[in-house]
């Protein structure tokens, strides 16, 4: 795996497990999913998926529409609750209990804590429409991390500057282009100083000429050794930024490996088909 996790550990909030999990230099994976199964009604979307991302890994999930890649990503921060399977974030296993026929996380506090540690960037940006860009970036910091106004503001300005739209801080989301909105959404995620970032098709809602600015930002984050999980349709981008590429097909991981393995020498027929089809895009 061509990872660069030897360089300095970039971020501050780092809970205890590292010491506890023994000799392995990578320590525990930041994100570990095991045997994830999820269905919507009679439709089985995920049929037993295992996935791991170590510290500093950038994992790209590819696959055709309906392969379950977005659902898998949403299971990581429990926006979807899988019926079966284990989710472990930075060594902490999420506990579930049964409520009637459904399985639900047993502690809302634990879920919220984990979510605060895994910031998500959505396909549709989902900036809060009634708040200015600055307020958007400040709100979760204030409410979840309990930062005071000055701290939150300072961090917001830093991250907005980082994504290159500090000048738009007082604008409302609807006044920005799609690319700017998505960069603001990335700033909002960064400002939480999360252990890992989750990207759900971050450029799929953008016009081609706006994709570039967002991709550049994400790429620069990947180069900082942040742990990132990325669902994307953009093969070139996946090859560019990912340490590991996972190909999902009909709710299962069909193939996974380094970008070189996946894109240059795909083994399964399905992946070959998928890649040749997406080349035509």
């Amino acid at each position: 795996m061509p990872s660069a996790d030897t360089s300095a550990p970039a971020h501050a909030p780092d809970p205890a497990p590292e010491a506890a999990t023994g000799p392995a230099s990578d320590a525990a994976p930041i994100i570990a999913l095991a045997g994830i199964e999820k269905s919507f009604g009679s439709l089985d979307v995920l049929k037993g998926v295992d996935l791991e991302a170590g510290r500093g890994d950038v994992v790209a999930m590819i696959g055709s529409s309906g392969s379950g890649k977005s659902t898998l990503l949403r299971c990581v921060n429990l926006l979807e609750v899988p019926e079966r399977g284990e989710i472990t974030i930075a060594g902490e296993a999420i506990t579930f209990s049964n409520k009637g026929p459904a399985r639900v996380p047993s502690s809302a506090g634990q879920v919220n804590r984990i979510r605060a540690d895994l910031s998500m960037v959505f396909q549709q940006f989902n900036l809060w429409a009634h708040l200015s860009i600055l307020e958007n970036v400040m709100l979760p910091q204030r409410r979840v991390l309990k930062r005071d106004r000055a701290q939150a503001r300072q961090r917001a300005i830093e991250t907005l500057d980082r994504v290159g739209i500090a000048d738009k801080a007082d604008a409302y989301p609807s006044q920005l282009s799609g690319g700017q909105q998505q960069r603001a959404a990335i700033a909002r995620a960064l400002a939480m100083d999360p252990t890992a970032l989750l990207f759900d098709e971050p450029t799929s809602a953008l016009d081609p000429e706006l994709e570039g600015e967002v991709l550049r930002v994400i790429k620069s984050l990947a180069e900082e050794d942040r742990t990132m999980l990325l669902v994307t349709h953009d093969m070139r981008f996946a090859r560019d930024v990912a340490d590991k590429v996972v190909f999902l097909h009909q709710g299962r991981i069909e193939e996974e490996g380094t970008p070189a393995e996946i894109f240059d020498s795909p083994k399964s027929d399905r992946l070959q088909q998928f890649l040749s089809a997406s080349d035509h895009r």
Partner: protein, 300 residues
Amino acid sequence: MFEHCPAIAEQVKLALGDEALSISVQERAQWFSCYFTTKKHLSIFRAAGVVLLILAFTVPVALLLGFLGALGKASRWPVISQICSLYVIMVRGIPDIIFFLFVPLTIEIGIEYVMHSFVYCRDSAEPFFNGINIQPCSEAAIIPTQFNRIVLAVVAYGIVFGSFAANIIDGALKAVPFGQRETGSAFGLSQRQVFFDIHLPQMWRYALPGFSNLWLILIKATPLLFLLGIQDIIYYADLLGKMATRRYSTYPHGDWKLWYFIALGIFYLALTMLSQLVFTRLERRFNKGMVINETTSGRV
């Protein structure tokens, strides 16, 4: 200030009886200023004040009940959600007028029952309901003072309009795109925080047109106050507009009902137009950043 009034009134009255005497414009003006400030006439201004007062107190009551109804309808406890659904359906489905008669009456009887049975007349042999009549003992009986009637009016209007408000709020809460709330959850905000920081502030934008409508309907429903025995502006307009003869009145005049009702029309029109102004401002404020008619405005 009005010491001159008896003299003016007398003078004009004389002039009306005797065609030889004429009334100057100045005398006319003085006469009107006196006429409008008689004790009897001041009561129509007070009645207008009462209308505004009832409106002002009804709004918070209706909003409160509206929120309780809308949030209660979505409650996870079936008892609460069913009661709230029933409230919304019942009040919507029954004509307002019946409610204005029914609600104050039930509240009145309810209070009297409680007072009769538990506070005042516990020793009384007389039952509250003797099979034919409801008879609270004298201490428990509510005296229908103007104040009591106004309180009952506020409660009645609050209940009826609270139900409409509940519908508006319910719809507005559902209109906020799910992604907006979900994103809050995705960042670790609690359900409470999502509601107060995201859902509620965005709801207003969707609720405001409905509220603006409802407010106008409420204003226009105030003439129903007479059903509650409140001597409202309509009552006084009718009373003061009646022809006043020279024989019985200090300020005799013809049948002026037309003018009084025109004045009432202007009063209500001014009230609604002012409200429109306020709502336009509110809308502008809550619209900030919100793009709602993205697909319809500015595009063909």
